[in-house]
Symmetry: C2
């Protein structure tokens, strides 16, 4: 997979650097994140708190030259350990904050490392709830080092309202029956499979980890409500007729907290095709125990109903199950059952790959 094709969001190599003394704080939005980089994991003990760093190291191995870990860190991204100094000496241009403490916080003990990186001229990139410039001393360190502070959760200014106008190019959106059920992974895997077959494809990121993996994207849940459809339109602009944008979904259409994000992303993306991501072992929405997880069939029907507004031909091209917690035999049984019930290819992107879905996609949408 080559994340660095020109003219795409996947490109992680911006040309310019801000002049010393320029305002060092930028909003990532569609801005590109520089590479190569190191991931910072702090002193976390549990992979749950390092999923951004682990995801970036997994999906951008060619750009991730190392990890910076504090004493007692128990999480390992599988790349060389480095100090800030050695990262700089090895050519790193950025440090990606790949971990967070409970509540998305940055512990005081980590701030010194971030300041040292900024002072050494490494851009500091994070997807926190607070802005990096609010961390004590970091803005000054960035000014001193000529580094940028990149908050990937800050959307670009001046987004338009959604127009609903048909755009050229093809789009696939991953949707889910809940949050955290494989939408990002499935989109990345589908994109990778399309590229493997020589198809023109771009992964369009909508969440913080996805944006760091892609090097750019749109933090769709942080956009002001009025502009969500417009932000989705900006994220997947006009393109060549046979080019696929593979768009990372967010939230879920029957999620009592986040469905508005999902709806806006769906209508603004105007997808030709979508894939439903589903965890067959989950019975209620994570964190909302009174709300059952809808069936994949319900989500297919609801996605078509709402998505038709901007793409009357929208169709489901497959189901991606998360079967990581079942036996191999049970996985095979589940995949067969969902395929038989839906009449669609059904895969586990990690266990079986996404070939069956891409086969159908390219049959349904011949070049």
């Amino acid at each position: 997979m080559d994340w660095r094709r020109d003219g795409e969001l996947g490109n992680a190599h911006p040309q310019g650097r801000p002049a010393q003394g320029a305002r060092p704080v930028v909003n990532a939005g569609l801005t590109r994140i520089p590479a190569p980089f190191v991931v910072f994991l702090g002193d976390i003990q549990d992979e749950v708190f390092g999923k951004t760093g682990l995801g970036v190291a997994q999906w951008r191995p060619q750009d991730c030259i190392g990890q910076v870990r504090l004493p007692h860190c128990l999480v390992d991204a599988g790349v060389p350990d480095m100090s800030i100094e050695s990262a700089k000496a090895c050519g790193a241009r950025a440090l990606i904050v790949g971990s967070a403490a409970v509540g998305g916080r940055i512990p005081e003990g980590w701030t010194a490392s971030l300041c040292a990186a900024a002072r050494a001229g490494l851009d500091v990139v994070a997807g926190l709830h607070i802005r990096l410039a609010e961390l004590p001393g970091l803005a000054e360190a960035a000014r001193a080092g000529g580094a940028r502070l990149v908050d990937v959760r800050v959307p670009p200014a001046s987004l338009p309202v959604g127009s609903g106008r048909k755009r050229t190019g093809k789009r696939l959106l991953t949707v889910g029956t809940d949050c955290a059920c494989g939408k990002k992974y499935t989109a990345l895997a589908l994109h990778q499979e399309l590229r493997r077959r020589g198809r023109d494809s771009t992964f369009r990121a909508t969440g913080q980890t996805g944006i760091m993996i892609a090097g750019a994207g749109m933090p769709i849940d942080a956009v002001v409500a009025d502009f969500v459809t417009g932000a989705a339109e900006v994220l997947s602009p006009e393109n060549e007729p046979d080019h696929w944008d593979v768009i990372e979904g967010q939230g879920a259409l029957l999620h009592p907290g986040y469905l508005q994000v999902t709806v806006g992303l769906l209508v603004g993306s105007q997808p030709d095709a979508f894939v439903v991501c589903h965890d067959p072992l989950r019975s209620s929405i994570s964190g909302w125990p009174d709300f059952p997880v809808p069936s994949a069939a319900t989500i297919i029907e609801r996605t078509v109903t709402l998505g038709r507004l901007t793409n009357p031909a929208i169709r489901c091209v497959g189901i991606a199950l998360n079967t990581s917690k079942v036996t191999r035999a049970e996985r095979e049984r589940l995949l067969k059952r969902y395929a038989a019930e839906s009449g669609l290819p059904c895969v586990d992107p990690i266990a079986t790959g996404t070939e069956a879905i891409v086969d159908k996609l390219l049959r349904d949408f011949p070049a």
Copy 2:
């Protein structure tokens, strides 16, 4: 109609004033707007640009003691003309910016009046796209006068994510087949009719003019996407079992730009009842000529489908038509036709009042 009942958002009389030197800029959100007040109309020539001022003067006659107009202003809110000085002398506590130039701008020539008001100690209230404090000299004037600058389009900080939990009390939401088809007016008229019958009711505002009329509310379209359902929950909190919140709708469920706002407001409001507002003469979504206005029946079905997530018993209790541009005979024909087709009371809130809908509401939901 008494907008000043204690313990409600309709109450427009905050107890305290900020101390001199305190930060003068506040976000309206659920903050109350002081009364009595004057409306500022600038020098506009067309009522379209003064709809906020005209709406506030119409719906809060007891609090609106006058209007401040510049030379050549051709719009008249029907209240006494005043200078800033005479407004102050008459006891005004705030000046509401009730007009805007094209693009929502404040012309340079108006800023001097706003500064004079702030310097005289009148709070300045506006629902602009920019913050009041960005107008040249206004923040300084407010500090000097001990006045507040209230931007009603700025949502409160620290909104929660929507929980989907059932709240006590009853809720009615106005929904529309498009923007600008009577959702605010209908909600105000229904609220007024409920009050007239001695029912406990609160108008819950979601747009700038509604917020100024109610004295408080939630600028739902300015909330960050992740928090729209949560903001709607905050707007209509737990209440007495027989209390009605009459919630001003926003956008429309088949609107290609704004449907995400509508969806989040619907699910967070968990309405027991809704009223569809419709302009029977409009064929396409205003400003989106390629998108037809859906039928009232389509919007009823879609609202029930989506609203069931947080209120399985949601039901439509009436249709509010805007028949301002047809003859009296045609109006009667239209109202009869829509009533016959839907089996629901059908009114024009301005021409016929909302009694028929409130009759049904109170039959369907007896105290």
